[in-house]
């Protein structure tokens, strides 16, 4: 059991972290204090063109080793300690540092330089997580950052001063871990490049998904099933170019009995997607919110075994595990609904919010 929340401003107007903290606090009985976190998009406008790496270091040694490694790989434009309050509720077990970095110019002349750059950053992240003892990359996107730790979400927020950041998209997570130990890196959101994921539930297909991702060069080393969600979105949407709607069909496809009744060419398309992406299908009870720089998506498993509520009010779109979390920050709603199992709710910048009907 976990509590999820997301706030998205469709016009890209940035709001401080207070509302998302309130949202998290409203779902107090969904978590037990062994993990809380936030991701904000639009928080670093001054450094928007650089990859913002949020890192956890167990000690100075890990930090030095990481910096030694980073120096050779990327240009560090700026680095600083992430401002933090000392609070008694959460013992500070990590040094938290952020680096604004640029990929060396060697890719610039290439036509596909953006993709190459992103792959390069991913490789950098995987290498740090995998090979440098005591170092962990919490987030690696542009103009965004993840703030997470072992603790209650509002304590985590207080520790990181989340209320001082302004973002047009916020997501949050309060954790009640049942399958892996609580550690700072294991708290949600999980992030890779621009993708951040918060997840309530269990990916029972984890073994299948992980081995599919490993065959595509991803390294699943975080001891948790949630990371595969972030990597699957990265693979399907960023690398293979599927739309978010199509990616949702791949990840939570309709049942065959429904596909069999579809008219052509829809049936062939859905069949092709299910056949091809069978090892990517997410199975088990889950509700997830996925965000990237211009989108927020809410998605349930195919038989909706975990709660997920969506709502809209003017420029704002809200997604949460509980209605109360939304009503508390915005009592006046144009629309509030429970999305159908397997249908993604997609909110985009400068666009409307839609529940895509795939089921």
């Amino acid at each position: 059991m976990c509590g999820l929340g997301g706030i998205f401003n469709r016009e890209g107007r940035r709001i401080p972290g207070d509302d998302i903290i309130t949202m998290a606090r409203m779902m107090r009985d969904r978590y037990d204090g062994r993990g809380g976190g936030f991701a904000g998009y639009g928080i670093y406008p001054k450094y928007a063109e650089y990859y913002a790496l949020h890192l956890f270091f167990r000690d100075e040694e890990a930090k030095e080793a990481t910096e030694e490694f980073l120096k050779d790989r990327v240009a560090i434009i700026k680095d600083e300690e992430v401002p933090m309050r000392s609070i008694k509720e959460i013992p500070k077990e990590n040094i938290v540092w952020r680096y604004f970095v640029e990929v060396p110019h060697r890719f610039k002349s290439r036509k596909d330089c953006a993709a190459l750059e992103e792959d390069y950053i991913i490789e950098t992240v995987f290498t740090i997580n995998d090979e440098i003892d005591g170092a962990f990359v919490a987030s690696s996107g542009k103009n965004m950052g993840v703030f997470k730790a072992t603790g209650m979400p509002d304590d985590v927020a207080r520790m990181y001063k989340v209320e001082k950041y302004k973002a047009y998209c916020w997501i949050t997570h309060g954790r009640f871990p049942t399958n892996t130990p609580g550690w700072w890196g294991g708290a949600h959101p999980f992030n890779l490049l621009d993708w951040s994921v918060v997840h309530n539930g269990e990916i029972s297909s984890y073994g299948t998904n992980r081995r599919y991702l490993e065959a595509h060069g991803y390294k699943c080393r975080l001891l948790t099933d949630t990371e595969v969600v972030a990597y699957l979105f990265d693979l399907l949407v960023r690398k293979q170019g599927l739309s978010l709607r199509t990616a949702a069909i791949a990840l939570t496809p309709p049942f065959w009995k429904h596909i069999d009744r579809m008219p052509e060419p829809k049936r062939s398309i859905y069949t092709a997607l299910r056949m091809t992406y069978a090892p990517a299908m997410l199975n088990g009870p889950f509700a997830i919110i996925v965000a990237n720089r211009d989108t927020m998506v809410g998605l349930n498993d195919r038989i909706k075994l975990r709660p997920l509520i969506a709502a809209k009010s003017g420029e704002f779109v809200y997604i949460a595990s509980e209605e109360a979390a939304i009503r508390e920050i915005q009592p006046e709603l144009e629309k509030l609904w429970a999305p159908r199992a397997g249908n993604p709710v997609i909110a985009r910048l400068h666009d409307d919010v839609r529940e895509e009907v795939i089921h």
């Binding site: 029972s204 073994g207 081995r211 199975n283």
Partner: protein
């Protein structure tokens, strides 16, 4: 010399119950029961009894029981009774010992040391009676990704290679017409069609009675090339090139001329009464590139409309061989483990060549993934699959689907007496003798074969539900949902499975 060779079984007859109807004499194809009408005396040839139990179940007064012979050689752990009997047999005949069905030696059965996970609290189990539960499986090549044109309507730009659509991941293995009767084949063909799966022809061609079920039949091209012609290839749903078989890796096959009846001769396209010899290798395949040529020759002949599978016996180097087969253009590789059955094999090959199917699945699946080509072809596992649990474990290890041979025959009445090679199957399955064939009614056989598939499919759904999954593809290669009990570290590493408790 005294023939000091105790029988395996003894026939016990309750003389009070026996009514001398001679039914047992007619039922036993091996001549165990003999009645001297003049002297009104019975003689039971215990040494000929194979414990098929046909007479016991056909006796109208249930007067017959078959028991293990109490007479054995003095016990010895190394020179077992079987070893001593084999030596005596060979001393007598100077021949290779022929046998049937699968490996009999007590090698470790990995399936029995693997356990499945189940949901408790944190992930709810799913009730298949209330929620949809999907077993559909596609066999064949899948694209790396799907390209859609989403601007002007939605258009599928990726071409999907031909795949077989299975409604349950269980198929009937290749057992040829010749090795088994047309009634047995018909039973499986009807069941396959009813359940939405497939059966294999084996090397014996496709008898015309099977034509109505041809869209649920996989044709086979083996080293004897019996029956292979354009119409045959086009008629089936897929084509399988048989390189090897788990029960007898590295050797060919031999259907004696006495079994090549008029109908078999017509179906196999060979002269009546001639021996049908399948050479050990295909004499046009001496390398992987030769195999590739045959794969593409078959694809050309069928206009690229049929998937082409390649079946090999699981042997030591199975992973690189299977990878080579997939790279050579096969749409699926069939792995036949060393417990795989056969109608006839030299005992030495059946019991001592090849490796278990579980480790073969694990290593082939892993190697294909390491090379990034797992989606190029499917893995079909066979050889010793006994239950829905074995199916689930094979799929969790990485198989896409399984073939069942022995289990299917048991459903048709087989009692695994291991005398298929004699052609005198008492249950009318592995025989061409008209009187024996009559013992298997294909209507009844089809019902039982279909029931077996339905029962296992039902159990697979229950297994998936307990695992909290609602589709078989989420179990495929999901070794996280398996744990090993009583396996060594090395075994676990090869299987890619954690020990129970971790």
């Amino acid at each position: 010399m005294v023939r000091n060779f105790p029988p395996d079984f003894v026939v016990r007859v309750d003389k009070e119950a026996c009514i001398n109807c001679l039914r047992c004499v007619r039922e036993c194809p091996f001549g165990v029961h003999e009645y001297d009408k003049e002297k009104k005396k019975w003689k039971r040839h215990h040494e000929k009894c194979v414990a098929c139990l046909r007479c016991a179940y056909m006796c109208p007064t249930q007067a017959i029981s078959i028991e293990r012979s109490p007479m054995e050689y003095s016990p010895h752990p190394v020179w077992t009774n079987r070893v001593r009997k084999d030596i005596k047999t060979q001393a007598e005949t100077g021949s290779v010992i022929l046998t049937a069905m699968g490996n009999e030696l007590p090698y470790l059965n990995y399936f029995d040391h693997l356990v499945l996970d189940a949901c408790q609290v944190t992930n709810p189990s799913i009730d298949p009676l209330r929620e949809p539960m999907e077993l559909r499986t596609y066999l064949g090549r899948k694209p790396e990704k799907v390209d859609l044109d989403e601007y002007d309507g939605v258009e599928l730009k990726t071409k999907i290679a031909p795949n077989l659509k299975l409604e349950t991941p269980i198929m009937f293995a290749h057992m040829s017409y010749g090795s088994i009767s047309i009634e047995a084949q018909l039973s499986m063909a009807r069941a396959a069609k009813e359940v939405g799966t497939y059966m294999g022809t084996g090397e014996g061609g496709m008898h015309r009675d099977l034509y109505p079920y041809a869209d649920h039949i996989i044709t086979q091209v083996a080293s004897g090339r019996f029956a292979v012609h354009e119409e045959y290839l086009k008629r089936g749903a897929a084509i399988e090139i048989k390189i090897g078989q788990g029960a007898k890796p590295g050797i060919g096959g031999h259907l004696p001329g006495t079994k090549v009846t008029a109908e078999i001769s017509e179906t196999r396209m060979i002269p009546e009464g001639s021996d049908a010899i399948s050479p050990a290798p295909h004499h046009d395949i001496y390398s992987i590139e030769d195999l590739s040529r045959l794969i593409y020759a078959l694809k050309e002949a069928t206009r690229y409309k049929k998937p082409v599978f390649v079946k090999i016996a699981a042997v030591h180097n199975v992973a690189p061989i299977a990878v080579g087969i997939i790279r050579a253009g096969a749409d699926a590789v069939v792995l036949d483990g060393f417990r795989g059955g056969t109608g006839a094999a030299p005992q030495v090959h059946r019991d001592h060549h090849g490796i278990p199917i579980e480790v073969a699945i694990a290593s082939v699946d892993q190697r294909l993934r390491e090379e990034g080509i797992r989606h190029w072809g499917s893995i079909i596992a066979s050889g010793g699959i006994r239950s829905s649990a074995d199916v689930a474990k094979a799929i969790a290890l990485g198989a896409d689907a399984v073939y069942i041979g022995t289990a299917a025959l048991i459903a048709l009445g087989c009692t695994v007496c291991k005398k298929c090679y004699t052609g005198k199957c008492p249950w009318g399955i592995a025989t061409q003798v008209p009187e024996l064939r009559k013992r298997l009614n294909p209507d009844e056989g089809a019902r039982r074969a279909a029931n077996l598939l339905k029962a296992w499919s039902h159990e697979l759904k229950e297994i998936l539900g307990a695992l909290g999954l609602n589709s078989i593809e989420s179990l495929r290669g999901n070794r996280d949902r398996l744990r090993g009990v009583g396996l060594s570290d090395v075994d676990l590493e090869v299987l890619g499975v954690k020990p129970a408790g971790r």
